[in-house]
Symmetry: D2
Subunit: 343 residues, 4 copies
């Protein structure tokens, strides 16, 4: 029997052991140069303990301070509720720990700016959870755009539809369609085009379920964007696509277009007397972005190991939040809103 000493690994603590926190834990475990050191959650019950044991997590705690102050931890994943993000980022920065934070950083871009300031002051890295940047389809579009294959960007189109609305308790505190759901799409618009948004116009409606209206939210929206330099963009968004998660994008430019389609559980096509039938798209974000979640973690770990810049950082988080706020204002006032008005 032989053993060898392994190279240093990044030791990670995860705050918030909900659905997304657990995904990150499993992805950290799969990374050969990372290890999971601890998780915290406000509620530690048998189920969580059993789950943590099955993953071999050495420490499960209710108090995130046990993680933040742990000298054996290099980086923190913040997967708790949005209202805790800013405070946790500041604490992590104070403790000199690198941060991966789920989106959005906050509902108030001024608080986000404070968090970014703390990160800058501490010299730690901050990556924001825009997992779609690591999706194979969007990345490929971005590559085509960056390679100049489509020339100058003129139009950006994004379709973003969930398979089913969230429960009412989620809707209440979600921050609304623009901040909760379309924030990913606003980031995609910036990522795919490589351009900053200057003006937005948002149309929305309650077409699926009155519960959205009850909480001052919409369930269906079209947001048009004007980018610096004059390119145009449009995002259409729905809380319920009966056929499943619909995630497509297209960037059109002076030399052509690059467009992606949905991913499906299989390529199988059934042809019968009644038509030609194929699978619905992959059901929801866990299935569709499974590989992207892993790639996002991989990328964070690699940037820490190699001392690189975070591939999607606090400024990206802030930019998307400001677009979301502009869209919200546009919907309320039914007029285009410039990003420069958000201040």
């Amino acid at each position: 029997m032989n053993k060898i000493r392994i190279g240093n690994k990044i030791r990670i603590g995860v705050i918030g052991a909900g659905r997304i926190g657990k995904i990150h834990v499993d992805n950290i475990k799969r990374h050969p140069r990372a290890q999971i050191a601890a998780i915290s959650d406000l509620y530690v019950g048998d189920e969580l303990l059993e789950w943590a044991a099955s993953r071999g997590i050495p420490l499960v705690t209710q108090d995130s301070e046990n993680i933040l102050t742990n000298p054996d931890i290099d980086a923190i994943f913040i997967c708790s509720s949005t209202d805790t993000h800013v405070q946790l980022i500041k604490r992590a920065a104070q403790e000199g720990k690198h941060v991966f934070c789920e989106k959005p950083i906050s509902m108030d871009y001024r608080q986000t700016e404070e968090a970014l300031e703390a990160v800058r002051a501490a010299g730690v890295k901050l990556q924001v959870g825009f997992n779609r940047r690591f999706d194979h389809n969007y990345k490929r579009i971005r590559e085509h755009v960056q390679a100049g294959a489509i020339g100058d960007v003129q139009l950006v189109k994004i379709t973003s539809r969930d398979p089913a609305p969230p429960p009412e308790e989620y809707i209440e505190s979600s921050g609304g369609m623009f901040m909760d759901m379309m924030i990913h799409d606003f980031d995609m618009a910036r990522f795919l085009s490589g351009l900053e948004v200057e003006e937005v116009y948002a149309q929305g409606g309650v077409l699926i379920d009155p519960v959205f209206g009850k909480h001052g939210d919409v369930d269906t929206a079209i947001v048009t964007l004007r980018f610096e330099g004059g390119a145009l963009g449009v995002i259409d968004c729905s809380r319920k696509a009966s056929y499943g998660y619909d995630q497509r994008a297209e960037v059109f430019g002076s030399k052509g277009s690059a467009a992606s389609a949905n991913d499906h559980p299989s390529t199988a096509v059934l042809s019968t007397e009644s038509g030609v039938w194929s699978d619905k798209p992959l059901h929801f974000f866990l299935e569709r972005y499974e590989a992207a979640y892993f790639a996002e973690t991989e990328s964070f770990v690699d940037c820490l190991l190699q001392g690189n810049l975070a591939p999607v950082d606090g400024n990206d988080g802030l930019a998307a939040e400001r677009i979301a706020l502009a869209a919200k204002m546009s919907l309320q006032k039914n007029r285009p809103v410039k990003l420069s008005e958000i201040m």
Copy 2:
């Protein structure tokens, strides 16, 4: 040798022997129950005469009155320039002839209304040249919508991109992107959804060629629509798609979506070391809508023979013109414009 007498045919005169007029002539000739009686054009030269002879057209004239007053002619196709449409419709109506008129009827919706009034007063039929209603792909989407397959309409998306910009002399007198090009898409939005448009917001830019700006026009636009009942729509439009004519639509509703893709010259796919390659879309409207142009003529002839209503009539023409005018105003004022403001 045997001969039999054929049943009555609709006898048609075509005013305007440009590209679109010639297409209509060939399609009329292919219809077993229609015959071409005459064509007129402001300029009758050898080329036109030779072409007319090859089609066996008995009369070629410079003066459209020779057609309008010809008692052996049942119906007129108006394929001359837009500024002549209203006057010709009125004359045809006076002469008791049915009318097929290319789009738009006019640039001024009040004049269009006058033409419609003349048509109503004379009791003749008027069909407007919205050929895309007869396209196999759009028709199929419409069928799915009408059959209830997608439930209540919530979103309508249309992509409309030309392969190359028109020459400058065309741009000057075209009426601009909204009236010249997107008028088809505004009609599609109404046709596919079965809903009336209540409000539009238009974004546009000169991203392809400054010549558009010189004439106060745009070459790239995104127009969002709000339909009666709250459904939303968006049309993106470009004067130049390097890869060819891009004509797609999608209607999304409470039970699903119906979407069309482009048509291609072949289904052949070439796979080599450098990638998987397939044909560009059919080049332009003549190729893509070849069958639709025939079906449109067929439909007009059939409605005359059977005494049915025109499948797409003056009111459809008017409605699309009013949306185009609203879009134009929206672009100028950079604010949403209600259709009720167009009066």
Copy 3:
């Protein structure tokens, strides 16, 4: 009113006014340089007369000799039953008329050779009705192969499935699956690859309807081919594909592959909770090869006008017949059969 003299047109007589004969008549009529001079059919009734009148055909006759000996006729389309082809080709050749003949020329390749000899002796042109050579998809594959895009041909795959079996009376006299149906595919194998077949092995079965077995025929078959130089091929064939006419091909070579898919009535895709649905392929050969039938006629007329070689000639007809005979023998003997054995 003006008239001009049109250039000479090819004057064509059609022998056999069944389904395929009528298609050819309509296509001849659409060609600006061809005109239909006469049709003959063994049975001339009111229906045929009415149809002929609607097409403006000047002569309808029961006796093909009235066509063959007519000095005002330049070329003959032979669309009568297969057992009349050889005799009619010989007569047309004697009369110095060019011939378009439906496939197969005959069931007996020695008789076919006699017909070809008569054609050669008379110096007239003979085109065989392998319409698929003019299909947009197959042509595109052939272009890729000819352009060297796939390198040296190594594999040829053809799928050929009818939507429904023919009636029993057709089966009785059809010549069997290989001669009636797959003869097109044997021609495609030669056309797409540009190679001659040296050996075939046929497997077949009666899996759809015992009526095929009753007449010594099969309804399902797989035929493998060995081409000169060693490339391999395979054709799968069925008399009944519930989902419609299935016509696909692929040529694979040292540098890649070129493959075609089916054509469909529309590109519309319906996505609902129960899956993603699209149209079945175009129903049958009339729909799928509508454009190919016209292109085939166009090509024949053009070769006469320009004095070119027929694009698909008697030798192509003969070659496909010999492959069909070899396949038949292979099925009977359950062993591979060399083409050199067919003599």
Copy 4:
């Protein structure tokens, strides 16, 4: 800090730490109810030790007996060269250990039968490494067939092409195209159709590289199959598809067809003036069947945990080997060979 005791895990030893052995190790590690206990390889060097350490494998040994006789090991993965499989299966069975064995079990079906007999006698389970049975696309076809969606099976078509030929040293000892490469396809033919093969006819050639001929092998082949009950099948196979790994299948029956296409790295489509481009298929088996390899391991572990039958067992391995032997004989004799001749 809290800990809980985890339920029993299957403890696995892997014999053979080549490419496929390492894949299995990583997949075993990902399974929450399995753990890797040891690996053995004929050559244990620094690279292997380092790799093993990075995976936390407690034991690395040169002698497979250390694994076979280890009382703490429940099951063995045999990933060593084919000539060792039979002996290792027998040893594992003697030691009462369950076995996962890579394909083929052996080149000599009588030896395979001996190994199966040992497994039966010992009452252990044996799963054979036909990973494609766990591929999302093939599984979906199988589901459609089993659900009766395509009716009675009439035709089975499989395309199986590698992106590049293996090195000469591999070719020498591979067992030839039928036993090495097509054995997967023979298994697929049985799996997808649910039918046994009764007769095969193989055509093959050396079209890619003479090195195959030098070792009495072919690099291109078409094998036709006759199944019990009369259904037909065909597999086309190439050692080099320039555009990448080509893995498709279709099952056609009385009610329709179920067909799969290749998987691709992304759905992105680039449309430019020069055409419409998309990604080549996933490069090779490691990429294409990545998920299938995990699912295969998962399935083996689950069958051990739950006491179920192995989802693909020794008899499946034996059946595919016998088809491969029949295909080899058919190629040599250039005649169809019945499976009953292989004995």
